[in-house]
Symmetry: C2
Subunit: 231 residues, 2 copies
DNA sequence: CAAATAGTGTCTTTAAGACACTATTTA
DNA sequence: TAAATAGTGTCTTAAAGACACTATTTG
């Protein structure tokens, strides 16, 4: 009982990414087809192990974001820890999940590291017929729920938009992520009333036929007051 | 370039606990004085390494809750991951922080494992003069902020109360955690109006001199509607 | 002109917050 | 009786949500 040979266990640390974007007014998530065991050939969230003992966890997430999705400078926030023993047959793996929000971008280019990645409608990815590797269904569910909640009281919606955007584009973000229809006139007043949410930027954007749309960019405020409320 | 000797790094996984309770109408946190290096003698959050490769992370948190605080069956939720390289001189340690909320209980009993733990007012623990081990100041700050936020839209406040409680006890929770004064009459109507938040339980509780207080227990609803709003 | 977005007005309902007041049940 | 909690009434203000309406700027 004097000297104890006990040593804490060593584990493997991974990062997994829920990368959301808007395409055709629908919420999409980036999925990859796994190229190695376990779950070879199965759809999974992008992710990987820490590169070395000195890498910051968030730096690993940004590295995967670049390597697997070709994305830089997008919104990234920590989502949670997923570390059930037995979730990975290779040993005790604990994964730190991150939520990334990207504006609509060109498709992953064939021939790059990101070639095996593809944007999938979130509804399809979470359909019961779809199989996801590990506990990635749960992580994806949690990520979508986080995004839904944060649209209410933060300016996260602007992370789905390009540098400049119109108010109706911003409205589409809310409608797609929440899965609801909003009144454009009340929406207009609400975003304009939340001071610091969006600020006018540049001239106008031409529309096919009609008055051109005003352009805005994200304002300095990240906490919305008053908040946008989910119907 | 064919076979790569690269292996992902092995890391140590710890859990740290922000255990909050109410004492004398003030928010307190359980701190321990570290008995080993690093930070020997410095105040720290209770916590420790995973016991073995098969232990669930939340089970480790519950084990520490029992060992270091003598607490069972309290509210426990995951708070986040803290894994800066260099936060622990023993090597790469990644800590999963948990937030626990306990009703007021007798002090830790001398002679048990929990004897070196003590309830400290959160304001003191976060005072600039107070030194906390590792990044525990940040974890504590995040835990308190989480509790403040969740009081608004969840029934978390009941976790600070004993099995049964009076409405004014519940009000004290809000006042202590938010650091504000609330109108008892409006508070009364608001908690009664949030259906499922609290339900009547048992008879009355005698007061030193005056009408006895009605007793309630936590209701079945965890998401408050309408939410309690922070002034 | 039609089409599309910009922007206002107004009504109803809900809730927050301030505060006066009455009712009940004990020592 | 005083003390303490229970519970109601009412006023003001803010905001959500529905919806009609006018204004502007293009092809």
């Amino acid at each position: 009982m004097a000297d104890d040979p006990w040593q804490p266990p060593l584990i493997l640390l991974a990062v997994d990414l829920v990368i959301l974007t808007l395409r055709d007014a629908h919420l999409h998530v980036l999925l990859v087809e796994r190229g190695v065991d376990p779950f070879l050939g199965v759809l999974a969230l992008p992710g990987g192990f820490l590169r070395d003992e000195h890498e910051h966890i968030e730096a690993a997430a940004r590295r995967e974001l670049a390597e697997e999705a070709g994305l830089y400078d997008v919104h990234l926030e920590s989502l949670g820890v997923y570390g059930e023993p037995g979730r990975d047959p290779r040993g005790r793996v604990v994964s730190v999940a991150y939520l990334a929000i990207a504006p609509r971008l060109p498709d992953p280019v064939a021939g790059t590291d990101a070639a095996h990645a593809s944007w999938t409608p979130v509804d399809d990815a979470l359909a019961h017929a779809t199989k996801l590797a590990f506990d990635h269904r749960r992580i994806l569910t949690d990520g979508v729920e986080r995004a839904r909640g944060k649209l209410e009281y933060t300016a996260l919606a602007t992370a789905f938009c390009a540098e400049t955007f119109t108010i109706s584009e911003l409205q589409q973000v809310y409608e797609a992520v929440w899965g609801v229809q909003l009144d454009p006139r009340n929406f207009y007043r609400k975003v304009q009333g939340a001071r610091g949410f969006i600020v006018a930027d540049g001239p106008m954007r031409k529309t096919p036929n009609g008055r051109p749309a005003r352009l805005f960019k994200a304002g300095p405020v990240h906490e919305l007051n008053p908040p946008m409320t989910r119907p």
